[in-house]
């Protein structure tokens, strides 16, 4: 032997006592997030179900359901919601496909700019789009003024445009991902067999993205029928379910009816989520290993019309959001367009306090959320398969619960006199938890994907070299998952900054948040201040997005690849 044997610590039993610590760590990783999931997701929904069955006089039965059917306007609001949802979905799918196709399959320039612009609506509360539309097409709108005639934007048309602009980026993201998985070899084969471009489109392109289309369709539909902000800002007399439920609960204190509507709203999104999941499973294994990306070429007959449509859509998004920022600096919209900062002096009670509350809530939601999700995903792998499946199922359920419904259910769970949990009601912590569980599924799935990137062999190698669970965590799992942790943190932060529908039921006069302030300012007629406040929110969220990009870039540079 040419190598001097190295003295290493006594091998046998050199850290036996640590086996107990490992077990404790894993048990905590499983128990903590599961308990939180039970208290802040399962329990509120169960309480809502219970409340829907308890009539105002305390009797148990379906009195609330009967009362709901007799409530004037509910049927109309349901039909309106469906009409709006279907129309928005149809428009978003066509437009979204065109945009996604243009960006992934043609050489139309500016794909990066288009992506950047399309990301804007996701960085702002949904009602900013409604606000922008009013600045452009409302009674005192820029375009209305130019055309010299009054456009009635309030109601279905405005709501449709605002929701399309709001949901379009999400549809484009999904469709882009679907279209990105192309294999040039299929097209080459079709070409050799003599298929024309349209034929190839209908025989190869479309069938390959059908699940993407289905998925995008359901996401858009869900987002639309449960969106609160735009309905409040630009909905006018066009009553939809989201506003109706708010009126029933907050306006008329009809909690029983509110609970019933909340449950009913679970149905369409629940079905949507279910179908999407089945679709996703069927698509599994569709993408072949080592696919050859298609060569992109410029085809004028195709690309010119595509770039016009794409350009217009992008421009619309940019205009609607841009006009909000622009108007926030104008003295008197649209009559005196001179620069001023006076709208940034918020006169509504509380001033900027809600913005700081939102910031705090979002930081808490992101930190607590990232920690709990990481623990859950870490723990779930150590569970036997049946319990793991159950936890996985529950963890992915929140996406089927609209924010509106989740927020509502929190009233039934945490606003009960005498319950120890009621201390949370009215606290920023509850808002943070509500926001976290609202976006639990997306964060969870990202985390699961990140955890899958941790090679099992690497963990085993570390274990065989003598690492305990803590060392495997510190040396293998966390380094590999750092980009995922950063992404999840900022995702939760940004969503929490702009979401409105979940927390609208939880804010109190003393505990306002930013998006609610925008709505209140708009209701009070301080439209320019609403614009100013929106601009501040967007600024914070854009800064967060930028920080995330920088952090990920820095990591990638340091790690060399990834």
């Amino acid at each position: 032997m040419s190598i001097a044997a190295v003295e290493v610590a006594e091998r046998s039993g050199f850290r036996l006592r640590r086996a107990g610590n490992d077990r404790l760590l894993i048990a905590a990783a499983i128990a903590l997030p599961c308990l939180a999931l039970l208290i802040f997701f399962v329990f509120p929904l169960a309480m809502m179900l219970r409340r829907s069955l308890v009539a105002d006089d305390g009797s148990i039965g379906f009195a609330n359901y009967v009362a709901l059917a007799r409530t004037p306007g509910i049927l109309k609001a349901t039909l309106n919601s469906l009409t709006l949802g279907l129309a928005t979905t149809a428009v978003c799918l066509v437009l979204g496909f065109v945009l996604a196709y243009t960006m992934t399959r043609t050489r139309v320039p500016g794909a990066r700019i288009i992506s950047a612009v399309l990301a804007l609506p996701m960085l702002a509360p949904s009602l900013v789009l409604g606000l922008g539309l009013i600045f452009l097409l409302g009674r005192n709108g820029l375009i209305s003024g130019m055309l010299g005639k009054r456009i009635d934007i309030y109601g279905l048309p405005g709501l449709l445009i605002a929701d399309v602009l709001y949901a379009l980026p999400q549809a484009v993201l999904i469709l882009k991902a679907a279209l990105a998985h192309a294999d040039a070899r299929y097209y080459d084969a079709a070409e050799v067999m003599g298929a024309g471009r349209w034929r190839q489109f209908f025989d190869i392109t479309l069938p390959n993205v059908k699940f993407g289309l289905l998925s995008a369709g359901f996401v858009v539909f869900t987002v639309t029928i449960t969106d609160f902000g735009n309905a409040a800002v630009i909905g006018g007399d066009y009553a939809v379910l989201a506003t109706e439920i708010y009126n029933q609960v907050t306006g008329q204190m009809k909690f029983g009816i509110g609970a019933v509507v909340g449950l009913l709203l679970l149905a369409p999104t629940g079905i949507a989520v279910y179908i999407e999941r089945v679709a996703a499973q069927r698509q599994f294994g569709g993408g072949a290993e080592g696919a050859v990306p298609p060569q992109l070429s410029f085809v004028p007959a195709r690309d010119v019309p595509l770039s016009i449509v794409t350009g217009l859509a992008t421009l619309s998004v940019l205009a609607v959001i841009g006009v909000v920022i622009y108007a926030s600096f104008m003295r008197l919209w649209p009559y005196r367009l001179t620069f001023t900062l006076k709208h940034y002096d918020i006169t509504l009670s509380g001033g900027y306090a809600p913005l700081w509350t939102s910031l705090l809530v979002s930081v808490v939601a992101a930190s607590v959320g990232t920690f709990l999700l990481f623990a859950l995903v870490y723990g779930i792998r150590r569970l036997p398969s049946l319990p793991a499946k159950i936890v996985y199922l529950v963890a992915t359920m929140p996406v089927g619960v609209p924010g509106l419904v989740l927020g509502l259910s929190y009233i039934f769970a945490f606003n009960i006199a005498g319950s120890p949990l009621s201390v949370l009601y009215g606290s920023a912590l509850l808002l943070a938890l509500c926001n976290f569980y609202h976006y639990h599924t997306q964060g969870f799935l990202t985390m699961v994907t990140g955890m899958r990137a941790v090679p099992p062999a690497l963990e085993e190698a570390a274990t065989c070299l003598g690492s305990g669970a803590g060392e495997v965590l510190a040396n293998v799992i966390i380094p590999v998952m750092t980009p995922t942790l950063i992404s999840v943190f900022f995702f939760l932060f940004m969503r929490s900054m702009v979401t409105l529908s979940a927390v609208i039921f939880l804010v109190t006069p003393s505990l306002g948040i930013a998006a609610v302030s925008v709505m209140r300012l708009d209701e009070a007629g301080f439209v320019s201040q609403a614009a100013a406040f929106s601009t501040c929110i967007m600024l914070v969220v854009c800064a967060a997005a930028l920080a995330m990009q920088l952090a990920l870039k820095w990591l990638a540079a340091r790690g060399g690849r990834r």
Partner: protein, 335 residues
């Protein structure tokens, strides 16, 4: 060092992965677990490593039961097919990892790492990150990392399968040299019989959760015990007793006692000779030219035989040939 496997049994749901496996690894030998995919060889290796637990049976190291010792306290070194270097650590940090875990002194770690880098001929790459290395280099580092803590046993899980042919051949030699030099007993899993024959002191040929045969490479090739081994280790003509009695009576001398159906004659293609002869009873069916040798299929007495020869003139499809057999090269295997 003696590693003893005593009736190890493992099932996954209804599937029996290991069926009461008993085996002993001694001294500083290099043992290959060889078999087709799904034969249980990887399961066995993972149980030895402590990454899986057996359903029943014992695993003894120098007489001490390992069942209750978790993987990280067994003090074994392991190398996987997928390199599995820590992507965030440099080559040197990877190699020193096991020693850091064991709280070895910094200077000792540095010295050991330098020594090992020299040994794997990569001293200039100490500060590189794994992704900057080729597959072969990464696997060398993984090997160094596994031996750095002076393991009692080295486990290799198809370490060469992800590499291309040339690199694989080079690394094969290096693994063998390294193992001989360190004298650490090694268990390797592979499905490549050529690899197993080149590296092993002993081969454990596995099939369907059972050990078919254990022995030196020559034993397994020249004296396969079962039909499976004869088939898996190279190619062979497997011939039923009644046909042999009629066509090659010389082979019957070595036949163990037993009913006709119990044994098959195993005749390696290189132990059959062909002679072009107009009066020959055999007909050439097909000839495959492989450079230095040719494989010829001949029809003779109602069967087709695979024959491997150097170049024989006049052997073309349809030609008449005489067949003769090297009786010493024939063995009998259980059917």
């Amino acid at each position: 060092m003696t590693l003893e496997l005593d009736r190890l049994h493992k099932t996954f749901d209804d599937f029996t992965a290991l069926d009461r496996i008993s085996l002993t690894v001694e001294g500083s030998e290099f043992v290959c677990l060889l078999g087709p995919s799904g034969c249980g060889k990887t399961t066995l290796l993972r149980i030895i490593a402590g990454l899986l637990t057996q359903d029943s049976g014992r695993l003894l190291l120098d007489g001490k039961d390992l069942s209750a010792v978790p993987a990280r306290e067994r003090g074994f070194g392991i190398v996987f097919q997928s390199y599995s270097l820590f992507p965030n650590m440099t080559v040197a940090e990877n190699i020193g990892y096991g020693m850091r875990i064991r709280k070895a002194e910094r200077a000792k770690i540095a010295a050991r790492v330098a020594e090992l880098l020299e040994l794997i001929k990569l001293p200039h790459l100490a500060d590189r990150l794994p992704y900057q290395l080729s597959g072969g280099q990464q696997q060398r580092v993984a090997l160094a990392r596994a031996v750095a803590v002076d393991p009692r046993l080295i486990l290799l899980d198809e370490p060469l399968s992800a590499l291309d042919a040339k690199v694989r051949a080079d690394l094969r030699v290096e693994i063998r040299e390294l193992q001989r030099r360190l004298g650490i007993p090694t268990v390797m899993v592979t499905h490549d019989q050529e690899e197993a024959m080149m590296l092993s002191d002993r081969i454990v040929c596995m099939n369907a959760g059972r050990i078919e045969q254990v022995g030196a490479p020559q034993d397994l090739y020249l004296r396969p015990a079962t039909k499976f081994v004869a088939d898996f280790m190279g190619s062979s003509n497997l011939l039923p007793t009644d046909w042999v009695r009629d066509a090659m009576p010389a082979l019957m001398n070595s036949r163990p006692d037993g009913a006709d159906a119990d044994y098959l004659a195993c005749l390696r293609p290189e132990h059959v000779r062909l002679q072009p002869l107009d009066a020959g009873e055999a007909r050439v069916v097909d000839v495959t030219f492989l450079g230095n040798i040719s494989r010829t299929k001949v029809a003779w007495k109602g069967r087709e035989l695979m024959v491997q020869t150097g170049h024989v003139g006049g052997v073309a499809p349809g030609a008449a040939v005489a067949v003769s057999v090297d009786a010493a090269g024939c063995g009998w295997v259980r059917a």
